[in-house]
Amino acid sequence: MNLLRFVLRRMVFAVLVLASVLTITFVLSHLIPGDVIQAWLGKEAATQPKLAALTAAKYHLNDSIPVQYYYYLVNMLQGNLGYSPSRGFQPVTSVIAQTLPYTLQIVFFAFIMTIAIGVVLGVVAARYNGTVLDKGIRIFYLGAYSSPPYFIGVVLLIVLSFVLNIPSGYAANPNLTPPTAITGLPIFDSLIEGNFAYFESGLVYVFLPALTLAVATFGLLTRVARSSLLEVMQTDYIRTARAKGLDEGSVFYRHALPNAAVSLITISSLLVTFLVTGTIFVEDLFGYPGMGLYVVKALAGTDYPGIMATTLVFAIIIITTNLAADILYAIADPQIRLG
């Protein structure tokens, strides 16, 4: 199978998964006992008769189930996600637009930290295989990835609270002027604009949530990096490199490391899934105003459209990154395309 066909196949599959997420949410939404509109708009539906009528019309809630399903899909795909009771009946789309950039910021920095910590520790553990250092690293990553992210956050808060004292509920010092949207991610926008005060503050605010997620996640990477390095070190070409008289350091770093790196791509999609869903916990814990905090508030307020929409956005992020990882892997390792 060539690369293009492989990519197309994976894309069709990604669409299929997304369609099933949509279908599952639709089916479940029709299992709610009682009035659908009441459930969608919450307890205050009665105070918003206009909104109730609008919602009923848009989703054709008085028509047959297949018709409803059709309009449900159309609305979802057009970005009509309803109105959010927990946010004063704002359109859900605009709430997502406000909160998603913050979540992406956490994921971005957490991803970089995860890769840095995970790969460095994995390489060190493999290089000093069997020593005290290797065992120490094993205890550290085993403990870290066996702990829920919110617990790691609590520990980091206790340890670092004397250094970092950050008010909850903000993504940067609220007294600073936020940058205008260029990329959409405030930290990068402030850097482009030269708004260094905001940039610095943004980094300080994102540090703990991102570090928490990275600590909860890096263990996966360390484990795979270590074992694939050790596996590569057993192969014939490494023996050849040694026979050529290369010193152990250059055999390890110049010959083994690049080859072991390919196996890391396979778990990158797992990492992203971990990080993306993990934002729900760290945003709640640190009061970081992203989509995760929104969904927690929506859950508490039985804000049905809010939960459904964030679910969909989380699913889209996870499905597209999985697709990207598949494609990247197929490019890096031609064997996979045959499978």
């Binding site: 599959f13 299929l16 998964v17 099933s20 997420v21 599952i24 949410t25 479940l28 939404s29 299992l31 709610i32 085993l142 403990g143 066996s146 702990s147 829920p148 992210p149 919110y150 617990f151 609590v154 520990v155 808060l157 206790i158 609270s161 899934t273 993306v276 869903t277 729900i280 916990f281 709640d284 814990l285 969904v295 927690v296 859950l299 508490a300 039985t302 049905y304 939960i307 459904m308 964030t310 679910t311 989380f314 699913a315 996870i318 499905i319 999985n322």
Partner: protein, 294 residues
């Protein structure tokens, strides 16, 4: 792989003791086993005492026993919480639920996965393809996302969250079972069973499942810790248990606003989750190594 039954029995017992010996040679797996066994014992004792109406906990997990937020002491081992409840009693009383969820979810995933994957593996063809694509779709569903939807629609609660976990947990087992079934599907004894006129169902139950269950059990041991970890996340978000019922994840969430004034409150329940999960992963790793060296 044994081809007749008479040869199976003695070798199987040798296999089990061999595996046990390999398992107990490794310090890490002994440590893991010790943790798992103590969690199971605590869960069993607590559950039994509630059934028999015997008090074994030092204090009631839901009653106010002290003025509030006392640090750990001999009288209150883990201290007391903001409402003056004994933290130790609360943590211990939550054990049966969390352990049971781990076993129930993994158990059901094991059964569904083994049947579906095993059948797809020996049947092959278009049915195999359909079943496995179906599995792939469920495999790609993010756990937390699905749990949120189910909580929103069907409501929060332990049963609903267990259902959410089961929905996303079985595909990994189905994939594993199919892979293992494919390995044995063309071996002589299966061909022989097929030639003597046995149907797919009989082959599945009599020959394939007994052969693939070993590998699947290893995976399942490793997996129970993961379920406990994910479930604790759901209780942290308030999706599973409702106050005053104590649960580890819910306790960390409840007490995290006191981390500066009473840090032990959030630390102890969190540590218990980590310890339990570490126990299951160490044991799982040990079982895996033991099976591979056999």
């Amino acid at each position: 792989m044994e081809s007749d039954k008479t040869a199976t029995k003695p070798r199987k017992s040798g296999r089990v003791t061999g595996a046990l010996r390999a398992l107990t040679r490794n310090k890490e797996s002994i440590f893991g086993l010790a943790i798992v066994v103590s969690f199971l014992l605590i869960a069993a004792v607590v559950e039994l005492s509630t059934l028999l109406n015997v008090t074994i906990l030092p204090y009631s997990p839901t009653a106010e026993v002290a003025p509030g937020a006392l640090p750990p002491s001999l009288k209150y081992l883990f201290g007391t919480d903001n409402l003056g409840r004994d933290l130790f009693s609360r943590i211990v009383s939550a054990t049966p639920y969390d352990i049971a969820i781990g076993y129930i979810v993994v158990g059901s995933a094991f059964v569904i996965g083994a049947l579906l994957g095993g059948y797809a593996g020996i049947r092959g063809g278009i049915l195999d393809e359909i079943l496995m694509r179906f599995t792939d779709v469920f495999f790609a569903l993010p756990v937390l996302v699905l749990a949120l939807v189910i909580a929103a629609v069907l409501g929060t609660g332990v049963t609903n969250m267990a259902i959410a976990l089961m929905i996303v947990w079985w595909p990994a087992y189905a994939r594993l079972a199919r892979g293992e079934a494919l390995k044995v599907a063309h071996q002589n004894y299966i061909e022989a069973a097929r030639l003597s006129g046995n149907g797919h169902r009989k082959i599945l139950f009599r020959h394939v499942l007994p052969n693939i269950s070993g590998t699947m059990l290893v995976y399942a041991t490793l997996d129970i810790g993961t379920v406990i970890l994910v479930y604790s996340g759901l209780t942290y978000l308030g999706l599973a248990v409702h106050p005053p019922t104590p649960d580890w994840g819910e306790m960390v969430s409840d007490y995290h606003s006191y981390i500066l004034s009473a840090p032990w409150l959030a630390l102890f329940p969190g540590l218990v989750i980590s310890l339990g999960v570490i126990g299951f992963s160490l044991l799982g790793d040990g079982v895996k190594d033991a099976q591979e060296t056999r």
